[in-house]
Structures are given as structure tokens and as C-alpha cells.
Amino acid sequence: MAEQEVLMAVENLNKWFPVRKMGRARGYVKAVNDVSLQIRRGETLGIVGESGCGKTTLGRAMIRLTDVTDGRVIFDGQDISRLSEKELRPLRRDMQIIFQDPYSSLNPRMTVGDIISEPLVYQNMYSASERIDRVRELMDLCGLDPVYIRRYPHEFSGGQRQRIGIARAIAVNPKFVLCDEPVSALDVSIQSQVINLLMDLQSRTGIAYAFISHNLNVVYHVSRRIAVLYLGRVVELAERETFKNNRAHPYTRALFEAIPQVGFDEQQKKAPLSGDLPSPVDLPSGCVFHTRCPYTQPRCRTEVPDLREIDPGHYVACHLV
């Protein structure tokens, strides 16, 4: 992969949260462990995994909304993992975020116009009157009627609110937008509209997305490549077509087989995963998946599998593949 094409490179990223008892750190919640991945310009990288696997924390660390415990985040050729909030401020123009909850992500006391123009104000883009034109343009672009510019968020539906959130994120013409479960709070019929809007914006402006979701169908639909996360580790990373026929990691297989199917003739091929997600405070030794894996071997309990490239562009962290 040419260096030019890579917009964001995450290298051996760790994010641990201290668990404090009586003021002292008594262990860590290891939310993200040794994650490396790359996002190319204009592409969508899907990040999937079950609840609590560190998807959101990884996303927050990528755009430095949270500090990084260890490792590097290289954005547009610059290591941003150690920059201070002040040094990050000008870079925030190029990376934005779309949130899951369209109710808590919009300030209820601000008008839609103020909400969408807020990043423009912080980044000192355009004059005050140009900003209003820009907001109207953005609303139009995101499928909102610009005459509603002075309305308040509570006067909109969930899907419309998510469009407002999208308009705010793309206002500054970012190169990268983190979509943190942007459709999981919406009705199914609205989900497809919002996804189409996101894909449409990408084809027009060449934004790169990291699309975090637990909904495999949605991720499969929007992404070019998909990373599967389990307990803060990437267990499989490949082009999306690979996941159709060539899923290698036992966890990925279980995950994709758990997608509900319509119809009776399709018979259940495998038993679903048993057991619970182990605690991220006390990670299993060796391969993090060995406690639930149907194929566990003795070495899985002791040796951490590397993320190996088994086919061009297809990475798997499993001893048995």
C-alpha cells in the first residue's frame, strides 16, 4: 500500500483505563490492546464486534477524544498520539465524528443553524454571513430543508436529527469521519436513508470513514474493508468480500453465522458461541478467544497469536489458520 494512500495508521495502540479503589490503581480495564490498522483516503473501514469489545474506545482514541496509553496514531503523516489538546485543535478540522445517539448529540438549547456552524466558528472558517450560506448549503446537502435553520433539535425526528449531526461533521470538509454506530438508534427504514446519505457524501467529497457498528449487515453494506474486534484486539481484517466466503477466524465465523436469516430451508450450520465475554480487566492468557473457541489447542492458552497476512490483504490472528 503506497504511503500516499494511507490517511490514518494506527500502530500497536493500547488504551487502558485504571480501575481505582481507595484512590490507587488496582488494575486496568484493557479496552484496546495492541491494535494496528490503516485507513486509506476515501475508503470506509468497518469496525465490528460485540458490546464492550472496545470499538468505541478505539474510535475515540483514533481521533484523540481520549488519551492513548501506548502506541501511535498517524494521521495524514503526523503522529497525533501525544499531541496536547491545543496542538490538536487545528487538526480537528480534518477529523470529525458522528454519534450514535441523535438525542444527546445535539445541544437542546441551540438552533440547528448554531449547531451546524459551531465547528466553523471554532475553526475560524468563513465570515459570519458566509457561515449562514454554508449552513444552508450543508442542510440542503444532507436532505434537510434550509428553511428550518432557526428551529431547535426537539422539533425534528430521530432521522432528521442524525442528518443534523452529519451536517455538523462535514461542515469543515474533513478528510476523515468517525461514524460511531450512526444508525443503531434509528428505525430500520430510516437507517438505509442515513447510510445512503453517508455513502453519497463519500462519493462526492472523498471522505474516509471508520464505521463502527455491531450490525454486520450494515457494516458489510458500507465498508470496503472490515476489522473484527474481540476484547480490544483485531482478530481478523480483510476486504469485505473475504467475509462472504472466506472467513478465517473462528470468532468471525461465529459472528457472521449469528446473523438472523429469513427462511426455513437455511439450516443452522454451527452451534452459537457459548460462554460470556471474559472481563477486560483480567484478559485470558494467550489467545483472548481461547475461553470460547471450539477449536482451542494447548498453545492457544499460552501463546498470543500475531495478526498474520494469510492472503494478500487478509490478516488473521489465529494459530490454527
Partner: protein, 294 residues
């Protein structure tokens, strides 16, 4: 439809949060009566020289400690001064204590409360301890100490009551900011490069505004009472400036000869305090039904 053309089109109608709240408030008849009373009181205070039947300090030596009559509707005091006139002038002190002292208290309280709630950690620990120290003294005792140090006088009354009254609002704002800062719109502001100060001013304090309005309306009557208490104790405003508390204090000596002397300033005080309290209750319900048990 082009965007330029759009700019000239009338934007769609909208209802702001405060407009909704006012519609809810209007349904409450008692609240509106209180609001009217307070507005009238403010007008009386501003236009006191035009409304009062006698000039301030005018002494009718022919009627000393007289009861209500057609000449002096509410009677006169020991110097023959018209009590209605003094109550009207006294409203200036009571209202300005309520407003100015509360403005001081709100400024300190919102600033420190927002800092403690937003930053947490050590800053929160220090500010919370300061709040506890201030709140652990009985307010009136604390105000007396401040008055003792600063000396008597109207300005010092404002300062004393303001410095005493900020702890309650600081606690409420701290708790609310702690809750609000976890909201995603705060994170969105940070993600687009908003500084801490801008986030506090643009997002956190505006979202606390309805709480602030309610707390202020509820605190004003107690400030008015503090002023009356201080003046009653002789530490507040000094004669010949009239305040309701000072009048009640002076009237104490003449309870037997002219009982109405103490009754009328007392009624003025009770009505004002009641009006602010009832309005505060109604505002709380109108602004945020969730705050019902504040």
C-alpha cells in the same frame, strides 16, 4: 431552489424552549398574579418619588405615631414620617438587595460550580471543601461577621449577603455540569476544536439556565429576609435610610402605642417574599417538569 434565493425566503416558524416555558407559565394564574405584583413593586421602587404621598424624610410634627387616617393612610412613625412613604422608599432597598446580592451570589456560585463540575479531580475537591466550609456556618451569623468587618451601609449589605448565598447554587451547578459534560454534544464541541472555556460558556451554562432562574427566584426572598434581619439587628442600612427590616426594628419600641407601625412593613415584606416564592415554584414547573422536587 438556489441557496441565495433561499436566504431571502422567510424562515420557518420556530418555538424556542423559553417560549414554550412561558406558555406553560401563563396557565398558572397564581404565578401570573405574583409576576404582576413583582413588576408593580419594581415600578413602585423606580418611581418612588412620583408615587409616595410625601417627600422622603418629610416630618409631620402634628401627627406623631398616629394611626391610619385619610392624611396618612398607614399612619406615621415616632418622627411623624408617613409610613406609606417609607415603605415605598424601603422597597428600593429590599428589591436591590434581592437583585444585586443575588447577582453576586450567582456569579460566584455559577463560576465555581461550573469549574468544579467540569474539571473534577483536585479542583473539584478544593472547591467542594470551600463550599462545605461556607455552608457549615449559619448564614445569618456569617453575614453578621462580614457586616462587622466591613461596617454598616447598603453596599456592604449587598456584599455580605452575596458572599453568604453562593454555596447552594454552586452545588446545584456543579452537579448539573457533571451530568451535562458526559453528553455527546459536549464531546462534539471538543471534537471540532472547542476550548474548555467555550464549551462551558456555549454548552454547559446555557443548559443550566433554567435551573439558575429557578434557584434565583427562590433565593431572592431569603436575601430580602437576610437584609431585614440584619437591619432589624441594627447591622444593615442605617437611619434615616428606610428599609422594611429597619422599620420593623424601630417599630418594636412602639408596639403598644402604634401597633400598625410594625404591621404594615411586615405585610409588605411577607407579600414580597411570598410572591417571589410562588413565582419560583411555578417557574420551576414551567421550565422543567423534571425538577419538580428540587
Amino acid at each position: 431552489m438556489s441557496i441565495k434565493a433561499n436566504a431571502n425566503v422567510q424562515d420557518a416558524a420556530y418555538t424556542s424552549f423559553y417560549h414554550d416555558a412561558f406558555v406553560r407559565l401563563k396557565r398558572d394564574k397564581i404565578a401570573i398574579a405574583c409576576l404582576v405584583f413583582i413588576v408593580l413593586l419594581i415600578l413602585v421602587a423606580i418611581f418612588a418619588p412620583l408615587i409616595a404621598p410625601y417627600p422622603e424624610g418629610f416630618q409631620d410634627t402634628s401627627a406623631i405615631l398616629a394611626g391610619p387616617s385619610s392624611k396618612h393612610w398607614l399612619g406615621t412613625d415616632e418622627f411623624g414620617r408617613d409610613i406609606l412613604t417609607r415603605i415605598i422608599y424601603g422597597s428600593r432597598i429590599s428589591l436591590s438587595v434581592g437583585l444585586i446580592a443575588e447577582a453576586i451570589a450567582v456569579t460566584i456560585g455559577v463560576f465555581l460550580g461550573a469549574l468544579a463540575g467540569y474539571y473534577g479531580g483536585k479542583i473539584d475537591a478544593v472547591i467542594s471543601r470551600i463550599i462545605e466550609i461556607f455552608a457549615s456556618f449559619p448564614h445569618i451569623l456569617f453575614a453578621i461577621v462580614i457586616m462587622f468587618v466591613l461596617g454598616t451601609g447598603v453596599i456592604n449589605v449587598f456584599l455580605a449577603i452575596g458572599f453568604v448565598g453562593w454555596t447552594g447554587i454552586a452545588r446545584i451547578i456543579r452537579a448539573q455540569v457533571m451530568q451535562l459534560k458526559e453528553k455527546e454534544f459536549v464531546e462534539a464541541a471538543r471534537a471540532s476544536g472547542g476550548s474548555d472555556l467555550k464549551i462551558i460558556l456555549r454548552h454547559l451554562i446555557p443548559n443550566c439556565l433554567s435551573t439558575i432562574i429557578v434557584v434565583v427566584t427562590m433565593a431572592i426572598p431569603s436575601d430580602i429576609m437576610y437584609e431585614a434581619s440584619l437591619s432589624f439587628l441594627g447591622l444593615g442600612v442605617q437611619p434615616p435610610v428606610s428599609s422594611w427590616g429597619e422599620m420593623i426594628s424601630m417599630a418594636r419600641k412602639y408596639l403598644r402605642t402604634n401597633p400598625t407601625y410594625s404591621v404594615f412593613p411586615g405585610i409588605a415584606l411577607v407579600l414580597t417574599v411570598l410572591a417571589f416564592n410562588l413565582l419560583g415554584d411555578a417557574l420551576r414547573d414551567a421550565l422543567d417538569p423534571k425538577l419538580k422536587n428540587l
